[in-house]
Amino acid sequence: MAIRVFIADDHPMTRAGLVAALKREPDFEIVGEASDGIEAWRIIGTTVPDVALIDIRMPGEDGVGLARRVKESGLPVSTLMLTSYDAQQYVMASLRAGAKGYLLKTASPEELAKAIRTVAKGGIYLDSEVSRVFEGQEIVPETLSNREREVLILTSKGLSSKETAARLFISERTVQTHLASVYDKLGARNKTEAMLLALKYGVMTLEELLE
């Protein structure tokens, strides 16, 4: 059964390049293309693809907004964000908006195909160039305690230490201590890396992040 793919990108040449790459894969079926966010939303609604490749920067509605719209609509569509940008906060924003993956437009055709297959099966795919932290780091992370996991999840949702502390009825200092321990166990240098690594190692699931 073919994976039905939809592509939204406002740049015609990149869109054409993506289409050409996807056509090489026999198990992909391109069900639609759009050059802005509003048109994209309309086509997603009518075609309900398995995977929607969405450019983050688009006229009309941007990719993050569109991903959120798809998630909130409850449509069985996995969104995979595409961008020319290597900003990790784009990844954070996309994942928080419900996107299943994040890929640079300069990724190879093989990578693109792999990403689409991964998210179509319900997994998450994070571009290794964006998440440079992954490179050459195939460690097995130490197990996080429940409290550490809770702190990590709340922090990943965008809560401040103060808010996390209030939510868990612990002190701000304790939250920071837990975070430091999480960074240490995952080999992360900051919140974003911690979240990306936790998703990668399966310490935290996308569902937990979106709850």
Partner: protein, 456 residues
């Protein structure tokens, strides 16, 4: 002389006035004493000589007792011919009744005192309180007395009046002089002083002096008006200058954002498409094995171009600013902490800064960027703490380090004059979005930068 002008002026008026008053007073007193002596001698002599004549020549004749003395009474002749001093002579009996007198001599009976010393002039006052010098002398053994008197008022009157008038005039001149000095102080010296005080304490380009001084003389009033206009112009100029600076920042940011957008939407996408095509071509297996090396090099060059264009975009105006303040600051913090080797912590409550205008996000972002660089470059800080929170309807961005700190100049504009634009730039950026910037620092105490923008 310069400082004590008023004292000198007052003394210049007072000293002559007072000395004239004193000298004239002493003169008048001495004159009075002299006249007193003359008047005494005079009435004494008059009384004595008249008495001897009465004793010798006239005796107690009938005619002397008549109520109407002969018209050619010697007394009249005596007065009219020999002296002009106003006075009276009368012959009295032992009971003090007037036997014979010059006209108007009734006054003498008022001056008569029973215990009056004989042959000696005394001062006496009549009922009206006027002063007289009186002398009585017995006319031999006839039992009669001769009494003579002169009136002080008549004798000294004009002299005394003019003397006192003179003193009064001198006094008035002195007073007028003092009033003049007072007016000089009130309308010239004091307004000049207050004008001078205002000028010296005025912050040029910020404060205005009082536009008018009602108490001042016209010339000083004009001077003040001119000064007011100058200060007004300075304020206008500083406003204009500020607006100009803000326009510069705004235009620059707009231009940078436009360039970044152009780069992103144009070259970046084109090169990306090139890479895609190169990869597709390589994957198609059409290229001869020997040529695929070149294809690989082409792709590498294109990847390098993508990275450079991205870096250029980030330098100009990062597209990820659109992620909102919290996301943009986190991205900035993570990037700078990698590049500078700093530990940067961002603490932001969830949802803070949502819906904040792009201008405000950009302004706060630039402040953070500058402040982090300052902490690293000048403060030698190892850690920077960034906090984002709401306070009294304002969004507050606080950056704190425990670096070296520095002595903060009172006026950031002064730093700009010395070529340090950073702090002044931060202040201008906040002003541009209606916010404010506070920098707290002390050597050895670290630095805290607080940026505040009103949130609608």
């Amino acid at each position: 002389m310069k400082r004590r002008l008023l004292t000198v002026l007052a003394l210049a008026i007072l000293l002559p006035s007072v000395s004239i008053l004193l000298a004239a007073g002493v003169g008048i007193y001495q004159h009075r004493q002299a006249i007193r002596v003359v008047a005494r001698t005079y009435v004494q002599d008059l009384a004595e000589s008249t008495a001897s004549r009465v004793e010798m020549g006239w005796g107690l004749t009938e005619s002397l007792f008549t109520a109407k003395p002969p018209s050619r009474f010697w007394g009249n002749r005596f007065f009219s011919q020999e002296v002009g001093i106003p006075g009276w002579i009368a012959v009295l009996d032992a009971q003090g009744r007037v036997v014979m007198s010059t006209p108007g001599a009734q006054i003498l009976s008022e001056l008569w005192r029973p215990q009056m010393p004989i042959g000696q002039a005394v001062e006496a006052r009549n009922r009206a309180g006027e002063a007289f010098t009186v002398a009585a002398y017995p006319a031999g053994d006839t039992g009669l007395f001769v009494m003579a008197a002169v009136s002080w008022k008549e004798l000294l009157g004009p002299m005394l009046r003019f003397g006192l008038l003179l003193l009064l005039l001198v006094g008035l001149v002195g007073m007028a002089g003092l009033v003049g000095v007072y007016l000089l102080w009130k309308t010239v010296i004091s307004p000049l002083k207050s004008l001078e005080a205002e000028i010296s304490s005025l912050e040029w380009g910020k404060d205005l002096p009082r536009p008018r001084d009602e108490a001042a003389v016209t010339e000083i009033g004009r001077l003040r008006e001119e000064f007011f206009h100058l200060a007004q112009t300075a304020i206008d100029r500083s406003i204009l200058w500020k607006r100009y600076a803000l326009d510069l920042v705004r235009v620059q940011e707009e231009e940078r954002a436009r360039l970044a957008r152009e780069l992103h939407d144009g070259p970046l996408q084109d090169v990306t498409a090139m890479i895609q095509r190169a990869r597709l071509f390589a994957a198609s297996g059409v290229a001869e094995p020997g040529r695929s090396v070149h294809l690989g090099l082409l792709e590498e060059a294109a990847q390098a171009a993508v990275r450079e264009i991205r870096a250029l975009c980030d330098e100009l105006s990062p597209p990820w600013l659109e992620l909102g303040l919290s996301g943009a600051l986190t991205e900035l913090a993570e990037r700078l902490s990698r590049h500078l080797g700093l530990r940067i912590l961002v603490e932001a409550d969830s949802g803070i800064g949502e819906g904040l205008s792009r201008e405000k996000v950009l302004a706060l972002f630039r402040v953070a960027q500058e402040a982090i660089h300052n902490s690293w470059r000048h403060g030698g800080a190892r850690e920077v703490f960034i906090r984002l929170f709401m306070e009294e309807g304002s969004l507050v961005l606080e950056l704190e380090d425990r670096g070296n700190g520095f002595d903060l100049p009172a006026d950031l504009a002064r730093l700009r004059l010395q070529g340090h634009r950073g702090l002044a730039n931060m202040e201008e950026r906040m002003a541009l979005v209606g916010g404010e910037l506070v920098i707290q620092s002390r050597p050895g105490q670290g630095t805290r930068v607080t940026a505040r923008v009103p949130v609608p």
